[in-house]
């Protein structure tokens, strides 16, 4: 009995497409193991095979020396395996406390207790976990109303409630602000050091991987191709080429671009006030995007970036304020008519059509005659051409992201609103996407980019805005922002 987890040559196909074909790995007690690899390499599928959400076609999975290959997920959980999902996966209609409490009750095997109130059991355990994860001030909120980052942390809390020996985390810091990322890493490291908890996680943020993991496993096209210490893997030339893509360029690349002469404004937002039910989310947000510009909208989770974009396209109609597109007032216009005017919108949560194929996803969105056709988006994202006949739900998270962007492009928009396009993409793909967005810009497309990835956004954009607590806190060029450490630290934590 040495290994906590051993995966032996597992295979799994979806309607003929092999997502995992020969993956092996092992986790020793007390180890933190990271799995890295390009989007679509099969990381999430491998995690589903480990946790029993899917069963493998071939191969075996051992947990603490016991063959669990055919065990269902709930049984593996009771054997000490806790996990989180790539997309925040909580109980939205229950309060934060009830979320964790339900998990504690499952751990205590009280699920079938019928008569005494739930609040007589495992309350202290639930509070301990809430305090451990720092969620206790929000205990009474409905989980569905938490910010994205907090939902991710709540997920970790749910996994911890099962008192796991091995914690499996699927991109734990995706979509988190630098502050939340740091807090999450601290939590993981602490659990590992103090409680001896083993962790298996996959992640695209290489700083996270190299600072946290003891062992790094590299996946490529469904196989595990390398395994070693972070240093060994970092130096492996094959990994460099397939995944990491060399050193990151400095932010000065874009900053060096010459300021362009002022063009006519394409989008003018004035005094926007938006509410979700009774809660006031945006306060007098004003911004302007001129033709041919790339404008950044930076801010932490829950700062109001997504809401601003949704208010512009009419998904969350603002209560007060005006949105003008080419001088035309968009007030009261439903989202589909806004789209027809030439505003493309890429939501942060992908929203692809799961039962349509990649090709069908794109066909239903094709509109107008312009540079963007099926062929041209396929050459932008070759992986989508390869998978054109696959159903949307069979794509990996990163591929769905690409599909969402491609889908906005085939509508041939003049203005593209991108909500966190970089989230969940492998480093190499972030670079590719950056290239592509720059290319789009040079072809005359106007872009409003809401991002948390501050360096990437600053490399791409000319100027922009920083938003916090629903208010615009800063407006200026990339150089202005770089020269203003106070704004960066206070609102962006970088």
């Amino acid at each position: 009995m040495a290994e906590l987890l051993r995966v032996e040559e597992v295979y799994r196909s979806f309607s003929g497409f092999p997502a995992v074909r020969g993956a092996s790995l092992s986790v020793q007690p007390g180890q933190v193991v990271a799995v890295i690899g390009p989007n679509g390499a099969g990381k999430t599928t491998l995690f589903n095979l480990v946790t029993g959400v899917l069963l493998p076609d071939r191969g075996r999975v051992f947990l603490g020396g016991v063959d669990v290959t055919r065990w269902p997920a709930h049984r593996r959980c009771r054997a000490g395996l806790g996990r989180t999902f790539q997309i925040a996966n909580v109980f939205p209609r229950l309060s934060v406390f009830d979320n964790v409490h339900a998990a504690c009750l499952a751990q205590a095997r009280r699920g079938f207790h019928l008569i005494r109130p739930a609040r007589r059991f495992a309350v202290r355990e639930a509070w301990e976990i809430l305090e451990l994860t720092g969620l206790h001030p929000q205990a009474d909120r409905l989980a569905g109303t938490l910010s994205h980052g907090d939902q991710r942390i709540l997920e970790i809390a749910l996994a911890l409630a099962a008192r796991p020996r091995l914690l499996v985390l699927d991109e734990p810091t995706a979509g988190m602000s630098p502050e939340e990322t740091a807090a999450t890493l601290q939590l993981i490291t602490r659990l590992n050091r103090e409680a001896g908890l083993s962790v298996l996680f996959c992640e695209h943020d290489m700083e996270v991987v190299f600072s946290t993991a003891h062992v790094v496993v590299v996946m490529h096209q469904g196989r595990t191709i390398a395994q070693g210490t972070p240093e060994e893997v970092r130096r492996n030339p094959e990994v460099q080429r397939a995944y990491l893509g060399g050193e990151e360029p400095g932010p000065e690349v874009a900053a060096a671009a010459s300021p362009r002469p002022p063009a006519p404004p394409l989008l003018q937002v004035q005094g926007l006030n938006t509410y979700y039910g009774l809660s006031h989310v945006l306060f007098d947000v004003s911004l302007e995007v001129r033709e041919g510009e790339a404008v950044f909208l930076l801010g932490r989770n829950g700062a109001g970036k997504s809401t601003t974009l949704k208010s512009v396209v009419g998904l969350v109609p603002p209560r007060r304020g005006t949105v003008r597109y080419r001088g035309r007032d968009l007030r009261g216009l439903p989202p589909h008519l806004v789209a027809r005017l030439g505003v493309g919108y890429v939501p942060d949560d992908r929203r692809i059509f799961p039962d349509l194929t990649v090709e069908e996803n794109l066909e239903v969105a094709t509109r107008g005659s312009g540079p963007w056709t099926l062929d041209s988006v396929f050459s932008l994202f070759p992986v989508l051409r390869e998978k054109r006949r696959h159903r949307g739900s069979h794509l990996s998270g990163g591929e769905q992201k690409m599909l969402a962007i491609a889908r906005a492009l085939v509508g041939n928009p003049e203005l593209l609103l991108l909500d966190e396009p970089m989230e969940g993409l492998a480093p190499l793909l972030v670079r590719v996407l950056e290239e592509r967005i720059r290319e789009l810009k040079s072809r005359g497309l106007t872009v409003l980019l809401a991002e948390q990835n501050v360096p990437a956004a600053l490399r791409l954009a000319d100027r922009g805005y920083v938003i916090d607590d629903g208010r615009i806190r800063f407006e200026g060029s990339v150089q202005d922002l770089q020269a203003n450490p106070e704004v960066r630290q206070r609102y962006l934590l970088v």
């Binding site: 946790t51 029993g52 959400v53 269902p72 997920a73 709930h74 959980c77 009771r78 806790g82 996990r83 999902f85 996966n89 909580v90 109980f91 939205p92 209609r93 229950l94 309060s95 406390f97 009830d98 979320n99 409490h101 339900a102 998990a103 504690c104 009750l105 499952a106 751990q107 205590a108 009280r110 699920g111 079938f112 207790h113 019928l114 008569i115 005494r116 109130p117 739930a118 609040r119 007589r120 059991f121 495992a122 309350v123 202290r124 355990e125 509070w127 205990a139 009474d140 749910l158 996994a159 409630a161 099962a162």
Partner: protein
């Protein structure tokens, strides 16, 4: 907060107890009918609103409860108390059998399979003349003298419904109830938390079927007759509408929905046979203005109905 709930409950109990003394008999009868239907709808809501299962044919369990009692008394010569216990037990057994197959399917397929299995039961009730009386049903079921008067029947209905709702309320607040709601929100997440999702869904169905059976037996006590329409899918649809109308994410919603529906049918039905027209308009208005149902809307306003999370200092229980 909690006091508000207790006061509201006591007032309600007092009102129910005083009803036969102050109301004319017709309204006492109507109130009893509302209570029976309200229990039926609440039992459905355990699986629908709290469990997130598309229980499209809940009327079957109501019918099985009622028919078991009726057949037991008239054909098998059982004493009333035995028949009244056998009804819910038979309904729960049917829930176990039908549920066993249904929980293997997801969402709409669950509902479709249930409709087909339920329709089988309906056909049996409709065609098996020697036992069920076929399309005539069974009428004039002999009951003990105490139940033959309206106040007697009302007392049985009111006490049983109150006790049953009390049990269902406890179930909803129990660890089982919380787990069920977690499954409703996200079955996959619940599964990797170590919850056996199907076993919980099946248990919820058996419980719901049991209390639908209780409602069926009470209907026999009140009306002294059963008829095959009790198992027809149209009735199941009506119960579903009651839950949506009253608010399917609340405990009291289904009772309120039942009151509205039974009231409409009886009171508006006196003036026109097109009372469903009124119901239709009401439903449309509801979907637009109160999408969470009547009680769902009120609970948003009345924050005192929301209990805060217990703190360990106050609750202290660690017996998990």
């Amino acid at each position: 907060m909690v006091n508000g709930r207790i006061v509201a409950g006591l007032l309600l109990a007092a009102g129910l107890a005083a009803a036969p003394a102050v109301l004319p008999p017709f309204f006492v009868y109507l109130l009893a009918l509302v209570l029976v239907t309200g229990l039926l709808a609440t039992s459905l809501n355990l699986v629908l609103g709290y469990g997130g299962l598309y229980q499209f044919h809940h009327g079957v369990f109501y019918g099985i409860g009622a028919y078991t009692a009726a057949v037991g008394i008239t054909r098998l010569g059982w004493p009333a108390w035995l028949a009244f216990v056998a009804g819910p037990v038979a309904a729960a057994a049917a829930g176990l059998v039908i549920g066993f197959f249904c929980v293997r399917l997801s969402r709409l397929y669950f509902g479709m399979l249930q409709l087909s299995l339920g329709s089988l039961v309906w056909i049996v009730a409709l065609r098996w003349y020697p036992v069920t009386g076929g399309d005539n049903g069974i009428h004039g079921i002999p009951l003990p003298a105490a139940l033959q008067t309206l106040p007697g029947a009302y007392a049985l209905v009111a006490c049983t419904v109150a006790a049953s709702l009390g049990v269902l309320w406890a179930v909803v607040r129990s660890p089982f109830g919380l787990t069920l709601q977690a499954i409703r929100d996200n079955p996959q997440r619940a599964q990797v938390m170590g919850v056996d999702v199907r076993a919980h869904q099946l248990a919820a169905m058996v419980l719901a079927a049991f209390f639908a059976g209780v409602a069926g037996v009470l209907y026999v006590a009140l009306e002294r007759s059963v008829f095959p329409n009790m198992l027809f899918w149209v009735l199941s649809l009506e119960i579903l509408v009651m839950c949506l109308l009253g608010g399917w994410f609340t405990f009291s919603g289904p009772v309120v929905g039942a009151a509205v529906l039974v009231g409409l049918r009886t009171l508006v039905g006196r003036y026109t046979e097109y009372w469903t027209l009124v119901l239709g308009v009401l439903l449309i208005l509801l979907i637009f203005f109160l999408p969470e149902g009547i009680m769902g809307h009120l609970q948003r306003r009345w924050t005192w109905t929301r209990a805060p999370s217990p703190h360990p200092a106050a609750a202290g229980g660690t017996r998990g």
